[in-house]
Symmetry: C2
Subunit: 210 residues, 2 copies
């Protein structure tokens, strides 16, 4: 990865600002202040200004930001000025829900293939996509120019399918399994463990019971 | 919330250590070193020692930790030495997948009710749970002693159902909608925006294309 280092929390807030700006565009707003963005998404206006300052000065003092300009800029920063192709490995309940999740396509993430090893699931249709055998992995990654692999298999096989994705040339992994995966330096990994999220809540709830 | 402040990243790693320790217990291991934990979950051993040091010294130099003792301690810290009751608001694809997700029950999170406003979904069964009308919210929260509300409704109504949950007495919210929610100081909120996770990946992928 390049040295261009922006905190992940900032990237996540940029993602949320972009949704708010898109809403403003639909409503016909032309300019917006950092205070209005802050109010709209629920963070402090100092935080909004700090986040946007990572990318240089492009607001006008007293006027604020041009909505469409800021939106376009953030979308470009986030890599959302283009389409990305994703493959889902594991067509269980979570994998199927993700394959059908409209929110991905709305932001330029196209689910191009869904693979599984269960003969009872292979052949099932999830909207326009047919679940295929895991053996198709390398072929589909190449043919569909896959950028992102989404892991929704059990923890016991998560590293194995990740290795296969990386060997096939995938440079970004979104991991839903509760396994810490090892990936080379040039591969981006992001973990989303749904139970861990609940456990951060229970940790905090338990604090209040001590 | 109390002042007992532990970084969220540490809490998330504790959650992962606990799974590894549980695996060791099943395999019959009695002691484990920080190096072995590190190797097993893929973080540095210095990080493991630092994380565990938040809770005082309880390893023995040269011997390591007693597996069952450390496991029990971490589970208690995480609030997983007890059961938690959750309600899911929104029985669309994501809400249904979460209701059926075995990983929650395995860690002591029991989905006690699933509500929706869509008449075509109300009455459907998700394993043992029947989807009920949103109007049942306050009644179900009280009757089932709900601790955690899980939000899987569209962004446009997410704040409204959150307010209803809080008014009914829920103190922890897991938010899957792409909306930044406002909650009182005494309510714990955790956001899981699935698209935002993909966007952190695309941000990093785009960096490598610049």
């Amino acid at each position: 990865m390049k040295a261009y280092k922006i905190p992940e929390a900032t990237v996540m807030r940029l993602s949320i600002y972009s949704r708010f700006l898109h809403q403003l565009m639909l409503e016909g707003s032309e300019t917006v202040s950092s205070g209005e963005i802050a109010e709209g998404v629920g963070v402090s206006s100092a935080q909004v200004r700090k986040d946007l300052a990572y990318f240089g000065e492009f607001g006008t003092r007293g006027v604020g930001y041009k909505v469409d300009e800021l939106y376009g800029y953030i979308m470009k920063i986030l890599g959302l000025d283009r389409q990305w192709n994703a493959i889902i490995i594991g067509a269980g309940k979570l994998g199927s829900a993700l394959a059908l999740y409209q929110g991905f396509a709305d932001r330029g993430f196209n689910i191009k293939a869904v693979l599984d090893i269960n003969p009872q699931i292979i052949g099932a249709r999830l909207d326009g996509i047919e679940v295929e055998a895991l053996g198709k992995l390398a072929e589909r990654v190449k043919e569909q120019a896959i950028n992102i692999g989404v892991i929704t298999v059990p923890a016991s096989v998560a590293q194995e399918v990740t290795d296969q994705l990386i060997q096939a040339g995938v440079k970004a992994i979104l991991n839903f399994s509760p396994r810490i995966l090892k990936v080379p330096q040039d591969v981006v990994l992001r973990n989303v463990d749904l139970s861990v999220n609940l456990e951060v809540l229970s940790f905090n709830l338990a604090l209040n019971h001590r």
